[in-house]
């Protein structure tokens, strides 16, 4: 494996390249040689430089612009599909309604900070249950690990927001300024007239998309229709404007200006993934054993004794990261597979089999070079471990959600004072109960005490009917109750300093029940 994990692993740039920052290099601008040359009959050789390949890129160097060419093919289609589906989900989800009965918000997905609730369709999470989020994050992490160990950086290539929005921004740029060559040409013109107009339109479109991105993000935290109406009339909360503004800025700068630099320099994920893949993971890879030695091919020439790579550099021209896949696996590569599309199109044109650049494993690349048949190992120790973890955590969370009680009880022992000796020598302890009714309907509960014979139970503002204290709890609310437990003097004398007791809250109509274990302090030595 030849993964450049950290910048320090790069070969030191030679002197001329170290000065790249001083000269204006346009990523893959047509060279000085003038007329386009042919790599093969009907295939233009693009004079493009992989500006971000380890060999060409010096540290502390100014960003060299990249002008990715539009690719056509299977993977470009898959990427379009991902883009539309993922953006569609992002933009539509806040507007999905979900009836939860009166008094509860009817937004399907809502992180209600003011009301301290998180709603996800049929799931409702209280702040006390934030561990569900932990489970969700673990599922996401292990799921990602599994996908990575099987298929390499599929997350980076298709699903990462940075990839999706950058793809969208490049598409917009292409619509306004044209494809690669037109954009390079435009970059060389002075900034006035038509160019100025195009730039203004492009940036306005970007800002609009950014604003829609940031604006929609806010909708996940408030009732969407209300905020949409209030946003433009100045009635939305200040935080909505603030976060919409912040996300508009970050979307515009990350997807518009920084693009591949985010992946290469800001994101920790490429580094982590180096440890998650192995020789059996699929990666976008150049089959050097088939391609080399590379070189231009003339029509009618034999393919014997030479590689299939005609060095047309189409793979470099379509790369949004500014690298050359033929250099091997590299940190910068997000595995977007656009080079596969570009190469396949060329292979078809020159009449060679496709798949010179393809998803393949490191092991098979070596086997193929030795002329051996490929071996595919999807079931490996690490993929099985990840599968077990994902399944286990998933089942555990499912169990947690299914058995989630709509009643919760928190008991706080009085600490000042820990116990009170009354005038007749009896001893009293106080407890504050929080009865959390998570149901959407009001319910009646009964409070009992277990483990303390002869103790009297009293609550402020409530009656004890002998069987226990009746308490009415409003829907989706916490009811706080102060209770006092008194043990008569005769009993207290024979008791230990601390006696374990259980406070039991059960629904009068049967069903849910919550038990808290606490202690009764007698003041005895």
């Amino acid at each position: 494996m030849f993964i450049h994990l950290v910048a320090g692993n790069r070969p030191a740039p030679s002197a001329p390249e170290a000065k790249l920052g001083k000269t204006t290099i346009i990523g893959g601008a047509p060279g000085q040689s003038g007329a386009p040359r042919a790599a093969a009959h009907g295939v233009e050789k693009i004079d493009v430089k992989a500006v971000n390949s380890a060999e060409h890129h010096a540290l502390y160097q100014k960003r060299v612009p990249i002008y990715p060419k539009l690719a056509h093919g299977t993977f470009r289609k898959i990427k379009w599909a991902f883009l539309f589906v993922l953006l569609g989900i992002y933009y539509i989800v806040p507007f999905i309604r979900w009836d939860r009965g009166p008094g509860a918000p009817d937004q399907a997905v809502l992180a209600d900070f003011a009301g301290r609730r998180f709603y996800f369709f049929f799931i409702e999470i209280w702040p006390q249950e934030v561990y569900y989020i932990t489970g969700l994050l673990m599922l996401a992490a292990f799921g990602l690990f599994m996908a990575t160990s099987l298929f390499g950086r599929v997350w980076c290539g298709y699903a990462c927001p940075q990839t999706v929005w950058t793809d969208l921004f490049i598409a917009v740029e292409r619509m306004i300024e044209g494809d690669r060559n037109a954009r390079i040409k435009l970059a060389r013109q002075p900034l006035r007239g038509k160019k100025l107009l195009k730039k203004i339109i492009k940036h306005a479109a970007w800002i609009l998309i950014s604003f829609l991105t940031g604006g929609v993000f806010v909708l996940y935290f408030h009732d969407a229709p209300t905020v949409v109406r209030g946003f433009f009339t100045g009635h939305a909360p200040m935080s909505a404007y603030l976060f919409a503004g912040i996300l508009t800025f970050t979307t515009y700068s990350l997807a518009g200006a920084m693009r591949e630099q985010v992946c290469t320099f800001m994101c920790p994920w490429p580094r982590i993934q180096g440890a998650l893949t192995d020789e059996d993971s699929f990666e976008v890879t150049y089959r050097g054993w088939r391609g080399e030695p590379r070189g231009p091919h003339k029509k009618g020439e034999s393919w014997e004794g030479r590689g299939d790579c005609i060095d047309c550099k189409q793979c470099v021209a379509v790369c949004p990261m500014g690298i050359d896949i033929r250099d091997g696996d590299q940190l910068e590569c997000i595995n977007c597979a656009l080079c596969i599309d570009a190469c396949n199109a060329v292979m078809k044109k020159v009449g060679r089999p496709t798949g010179l650049i393809a998803y393949d494993t490191g092991r098979n690349r070596e086997l193929a070079a030795q002329g051996k048949p490929p071996v595919y190992r999807l079931f490996r120790a690490r993929t099985l471990l990840y599968a077990v973890l994902v399944g286990g955590i998933g089942l555990f969370m499912l169990y947690g959600l299914m058995s989630r009680s709509t009643l919760d009880l928190n008991t706080l022992r009085d600490r000042s004072p820990t116990y009170v000796r009354l005038s007749d020598g009896s001893v009293r302890n106080g407890y504050t109960l929080k009865i959390i009714n998570k149901a959407t309907k009001a319910r009646d509960f009964e409070i009992h005490l277990e483990g303390l014979d002869g103790a009297a139970l009293k609550a402020i503002g409530l009656k004890n009917d002998g069987a226990g204290i009746r308490v009415h709890a409003e829907p989706d609310k916490v009811r706080e109750i102060k209770i006092y437990v008194t043990v008569p003097a005769a009993k207290v004398r024979s008791m230990k300093a601390s006696v374990p007791v259980s406070i039991v809250v059960s629904e009068v109509s049967g069903g849910t029940k919550a038990v808290n274990k606490t202690v009764f302090l007698t003041g005895n030595k």
């Binding site: 170290a18 000042s416 004072p417 009170v420 005038s423 402020i460 503002g461 102060k482």
Partner: protein, 291 residues
């Protein structure tokens, strides 16, 4: 030296022309991101100066108020007014509701308890301790032993008027300093101490208790009652129970009979709003000992 700045071979950056022992100083420009942020800060500062209060104008005894006329003090006043407005209805309801009716309304009880807890922390906890645990000389409010009565009305009256305080209706009583003022001899006080110890079901010298009984009837029973159970009307403590405000051992009782104690509690009526006193009453009553 030539007119043009020298370019360093290794880094490609121009030098300042300074050289020490063969070491040349590079004229490396400030990083662009740094310059952008610096510029942005200047722009933001300028905008801020226009929008917000910025420069003092000492000659006019004022300051540039900014176009937004922002004022921390006004914001604070507004917040407080908002708070008062949001509490208003509950306060009015509390003031209008009879004390013994408050418990029946869970929402009002909740408000009274919360307001009472905070008022207690601000005004009462200094002497009565946090949570009303009390201390030597400061009555515990969590137990069921009351000097001046533990009903809602008693508690409200005590809070409103205070004890041995300045108010016209303040609760007042005075125990004579039997030893200091020479009303009883040392041996008589010793007998009384034995009797009082005996009253609270503890072992005492039988002969002294017999002598002390007469002394108690003559000197103490008028306030503490013939059975020693005290009187709420006079704030005379119950001497038969296990709770002692100034300590219950022989030395402490001797000290009390000899010197007497006159604890003082301030008059809170007029200092606190009536509804605050109501809330405090409900809170203190709920601490566990309310009658």
């Amino acid at each position: 030296m030539s007119d043009r700045p020298e370019i360093d071979d290794h880094s490609g950056v121009e030098t300042t022309g300074h050289e020490w022992d063969g070491i040349k100083e590079l004229n490396t420009p400030l990083p662009r991101w740094w310059l952008i942020i610096w510029g942005a800060c200047i722009v933001i500062a300028a905008i801020y100066m226009v929008l917000m209060p910025s420069w003092p104008l000492p000659w006019a005894n004022t300051y540039l108020k900014g176009t937004r006329h922002y004022s921390e003090r006004a914001t604070f006043a507004k917040d407080m007014a908002k708070l008062a407005a949001s509490r208003g209805p509950s306060e009015a309801k509390l003031a209008a509701t009879a004390l013994d009716q408050i418990e029946a309304d869970p929402e009002l009880l909740n408000f009274a308890m919360a307001a009472g807890r905070s008022a207690f922390g601000d005004n009462c906890a200094t002497c009565h301790g946090s949570g009303g645990v009390g201390g030597l000389g400061y009555p515990a409010l969590v137990d069921d032993d009351w000097l001046w009565g533990g009903t809602l009305d008693d508690i409200k009256f005590t809070i409103t008027n205070g004890i041995r305080s300045t108010g016209d209706d303040t609760r007042f009583s005075q125990m004579p300093a039997f030893g200091k003022d020479g009303l009883l001899s040392a041996s008589e006080i010793k007998d009384l101490v034995e009797y009082v110890t005996h009253l609270s079901n503890r072992e005492a010298d039988a002969a002294a208790v017999a002598r002390g009984a007469t002394l108690f009837a003559d000197n103490c029973a008028a306030c503490h009652g013939e059975d020693g159970k005290g009187m709420h009307e006079l704030g005379a403590p119950n001497l038969t129970d296990a709770i002692w405000l100034y300590g219950g051992d022989r030395a402490a009782i001797t000290n009390t009979i000899t010197n007497a104690h006159q604890g003082v509690m301030p008059t809170w009526g007029g200092k606190l709003k009536p509804w605050t006193i109501d809330a405090l009453t409900i809170y203190v009553h709920s601490l566990g000992g309310g009658e």
